[in-house]
Point group: C2
Chain length 162, copies 2
Amino acid sequence: MIWAMDPTDIEIAPLLDAQPSRLLSQVALTVTRSTAQALERLDAHRNHFAVLATLQAFGPQSQAELSRRTGVDRSDIVAAIDQLERDKTVSRAVDPTDRRQNIITLTSVGEARLEELAGALERAQAAAFAPLSQTEMADLVSMLGRLREHHRRPVGDDAGTS
Amino acid sequence: MIWAMDPTDIEIAPLLDAQPSRLLSQVALTVTRSTAQALERLDAHRNHFAVLATLQAFGPQSQAELSRRTGVDRSDIVAAIDQLERDKTVSRAVDPTDRRQNIITLTSVGEARLEELAGALERAQAAAFAPLSQTEMADLVSMLGRLREHHRRPVGDDAGTS
DNA sequence: CATATCTCAGTAGGACTGAGATTG
DNA sequence: CCAATCTCAGTCGTACTGAGATAT
């Protein structure tokens, strides 16, 4: 008996398939791609959403603070703000009390833009995670959240280094 | 009251934190990094493990088949085999019955190498996924597996387009 | 002088594409 | 002539680094 190599019929080595890290990166890649495409249709980028959402949540703040809160690198924040400023969704002004910093502020255009992007993201994610029930989604998010926390600490869990 | 910006004390915007796709890619990045480092210490690469494991599971096969089964791009398979051949862990020979193909075969050195890499990977993953119970790990793998399957199909789930 | 911020140029690695040569 | 395979050169987007300018 000969199997035509149906693209949906490709067997994966059990030893390989048993590697959660591989599964994780494969799924992350496709999910990231579909959400990125959804945002690209609106001429936006993942980092734009991250910045806008953070500004909405915590108010005007410096680029350094945006970087820390979003996890987006400081140099990529620069590029994101460049674009967002061009789009009038944020304003960038030197902080008069500390002239090293820029104070980034969400405009009303930015508020609307954020809602637009949030909607697009929600739809893209609903499609990407369609096979999971609500309960499963909650479990997944909980597990991933704990893993992110776990990896936040470089090596030692030094809650009490004196 | 003023909060010192303790690195472990950075709040994330709820709207941002509610995006599973972001969580997923963040965790995938750190997990991938730690496993990649574990393999790098042995002068190996994720793709090397994928190829060796697939050869062990399915026997000698062409590079095209290895590409399909591992999900690694055909051109990256070339680079991986180049290295593995240099290391004597696989052999590469033109298929006499179809001279377009190379038949890649796992050597006994390769078998040992595979065990070595599998061990390193297992340890790295145990550390990376430490916060999850065995049950949770099984759930996670099950969910990710279904998501990968879901994304395998380009757009429509056309089991019956007529 | 040490530190923090913003910015830019550039690096490193990963996924992928396009095309040429060869063979079926 | 069309299709599959192997290979190489090169593209594209991502995360990140190093360093300079400025300010505290």
